[in-house]
């Protein structure tokens, strides 16, 4: 038998076939260094819904024209933010049924209460029948992102601008962040 007689050659050829023809072509494994994940995460931040009662000082029962509160956003300290956050797009929305305007400010503060970023927004007056929506989008680019990385607290400050109308209504607040990561 030809094959029998030439077994070694056959086996050799098979090994050659597997060994020599087996190759990895048209690929560039150096591209691994370019691999990055770039997820874009939408996250709700703060919400509130205040009415005229929230502007009454509980001790004196008198109107406070300014109310503010601080919320720690501890996740800003986490390594995935510190190392991999690239950009953020904040959205803030007020829906106002008070017939008054409000000056509002959102501060991002560091641990030592130094302001890293401030977003001011004048909320237009609305009415019960026709709530007024005022929205702002604040885009934090890569070259400003350290402001966010240095921040740990978000402060919301609302100042009512009294007028002749009765001070009655609701002020709703919505906020979110679209976080761009490069892992």
């Amino acid at each position: 038998m030809f094959l029998h007689a030439h077994f070694n050659k056959v086996l050799f050829l098979l090994l050659i076939f597997l060994g020599v023809t087996s190759c990895v072509k048209d690929v560039d494994l150096n591209q691994t260094k370019d691999i990055s994940l770039q997820p874009k995460l939408q996250t709700d931040l703060l919400i509130f819904d205040v009415d005229e009662n929230d502007f009454i000082d509980p001790e004196t029962n008198r109107l406070r024209t300014v109310i503010k509160d601080t919320v720690r956003l501890e996740f800003l300290d986490d390594s995935y933010i510190q190392d991999d956050l690239d950009k953020v797009e904040f959205s803030f929305k007020y829906i106002n049924t008070f017939p008054q305007s409000f000056d509002t400010s959102i501060y991002l503060l560091s641990e030592n209460d130094n302001t890293q970023r401030r977003i001011d927004l004048k909320v237009q007056p609305g009415s019960q029948d026709s709530p007024k929506t005022t929205e702002i989008i604040d885009f934090v680019n890569t070259d400003e992102i350290d402001q966010i990385k240095r921040s740990i607290k978000m402060v919301v400050e609302i100042t009512v601008l009294p007028n002749s109308e009765a001070f009655e209504g609701e002020l709703q607040f919505q906020s979110k962040g679209l976080f761009y990561f490069v892992f």
Binding site: H4, L18, T43, F48
Partner: protein, 468 residues
């Protein structure tokens, strides 16, 4: 992070093995055929393998993607865009698998004319993972483009095990037509991990009626990862020597034992046609030693943190909204580590074939061995199936088995499976006196460019086979 991703991707394409051994099934001259069908027709009277070399079996499989898809050079698209489009193209039914087997001891001898006893020890590694499509999409792209689309954690489903198998089998010729066989297996587990039957979704929903832009819903999360033989390995105080010693000890007396059985039969329908069938690894393992289970479960929804604007005196403390939120999350989405024994089923395999022999040869006359019609040529079809967490995975094979002389045999196969439609394999088995060498490789075309191949399998072995 980048390093981990790179390693994962390379791992997917480099180390993966599968386990359909279509080239070794029903090859009557090879003892390894008894491992896939203990009831195979065999034509030898004794065998002893060269320890650690009687069967080295490696195979790789990825049902939906190959290295070229990701790392190709002939495309203007960047690698990250290709990864994203690949993740989008794959489904949660795509899978990756690893199977490796190493025969440590293999021997067998004919007890009498009708009975052949075989025994041995082999080590096996088997890893199978469905593509976790939704979690991978969430990690790679985030939720921004998937508002109102649930991410399903049920997509996470994988198993992995490293074990030693001690086995003893009997091949018994019942009559001229029928041969039956059975193999008893004792499993000794070295390592096991499994996470199947997970459930739960994470959804970010648009909420135009408030209270915020979105609502985040983690609904019915129930993810469980069972491990055995792992928790002691991750002990950081263990030295490499201790860990090696521990691993060796575990491979023999791991404390995680199981039992299983292989059953097989061959039946000659007429002069030329033979039908065969077998099941392998119908077995169960009790994972009791060195067990650690990781559980993540619960339901939670949030629309954000809600400040209350209390009157805080100067220097007064603000309400710890974040801590309250974290406590709420922890109370509703639990993360626990427990130590609970569990049971795993070995991946059951089924084989069946129909073959047609022609070109009769005359075998050496021997009263000890059953007389059997022998053919120079055998053609046939085989069907292989292996049970995976979500059902059987099949492979269909057509083969031509040619005996060129008593000492040289080749088997050519064409296999259709989840990996390719062009899988041509070749087995070459050569005897030099009693010494036998075989080499079987499937998907030969894949060797032209491994980067484009989604499946490669290779088996080889050195042993002594005796024919009286």
């Amino acid at each position: 992070m980048r390093v981990i991703i790179s390693i994962l991707i390379l791992l997917f394409f480099s180390g993966l093995k599968a386990q359909n051994k279509q080239l070794l099934y029903n090859v009557s001259a090879l003892p390894q055929t008894l491992m896939s069908n203990p009831g195979a027709n065999i034509n030898f009277d004794g065998h002893i393998g060269i320890p650690f070399f009687s069967q080295i079996s490696l195979a790789v499989g990825s049902s939906g993607v190959n290295m070229h898809d990701i790392f190709k050079t002939s495309n203007n698209q960047g690698i990250n865009a290709r990864i994203t489009s690949t993740i989008q193209r794959l489904t949660n039914q795509d899978y990756f698998m690893v199977n490796e087997q190493l025969e440590i001891i293999s021997l067998g001898w004919r007890l009498n004319k009708d009975n052949y006893l075989s025994a041995g020890v082999y080590q096996e590694t088997d890893v199978f993972a469905y593509f976790p499509k939704d979690p991978m999409t969430l990690i790679n792209e985030g939720n921004n483009d998937y508002i109102n689309v649930p991410f399903d954690f049920g997509d996470v489903s994988f198993t992995g095990e490293v074990l030693n198998v001690y086995h003893l089998g009997l091949n018994k010729k019942i009559n001229k037509k029928l041969t039956l066989g059975a193999r008893l297996k004792l499993y000794s587990g070295i390592f096991n991990v499994e996470s199947t039957d997970n459930s739960g979704t994470f959804t970010t929903r648009d909420t135009p009626n408030g209270p915020n832009y979105y609502g985040h819903y983690a609904t019915g999360i129930n993810v469980r990862v069972n491990t055995s033989g792992y928790s002691s390995l991750k002990d950081e105080n263990t030295t490499v020597q201790e860990a090696t010693k521990d691993l060796l000890k575990k491979s023999f007396f791991g404390g995680n034992f199981g039992m299983g059985i292989d059953l097989g039969a061959s039946y000659r329908l007429d002069e030329n046609f033979t039908v065969t069938g077998s099941i392998q690894d119908f077995g169960v393992m009790y994972q009791r030693a060195d067990v650690e289970n990781y559980l993540y479960y619960g339901t939670y929804e949030t629309s954000g943190l809600e400040p209350l604007f209390p009157e805080v005196p100067a220097g007064g403390k603000a309400i710890p909204y974040w801590d309250i939120f974290e406590d709420e999350v922890d109370a509703n989405l639990k993360d626990e580590t427990v130590h609970e024994s569990y049971i795993t089923w070995r991946p059951l395999k089924i084989n069946t074939s129909l073959q047609y022999g022609f070109g009769e040869t005359v075998g050496p006359c021997n009263y000890l061995r059953p007389m059997r019609r022998r053919f120079e040529n055998i053609m046939g079809i085989q069907l292989f199936g292996v049970m995976r967490p979500r059902g059987l995975k099949y492979a269909f094979t057509m083969f031509y088995d040619r005996k060129f002389s008593p000492d040289l045999r080749m088997k050519l196969t064409y296999t259709l499976d989840d990996f390719s439609y062009t899988n041509v394999g070749l087995l070459v088995s050569k005897k030099i006196k009693n010494f036998n060498l075989y080499l079987a490789a499937d998907n030969l075309f894949g060797y032209f460019n491994l980067a484009k191949s989604q499946h490669q399998a290779l088996q080889m072995g050195l042993q002594f086979i005796f024919i009286k």
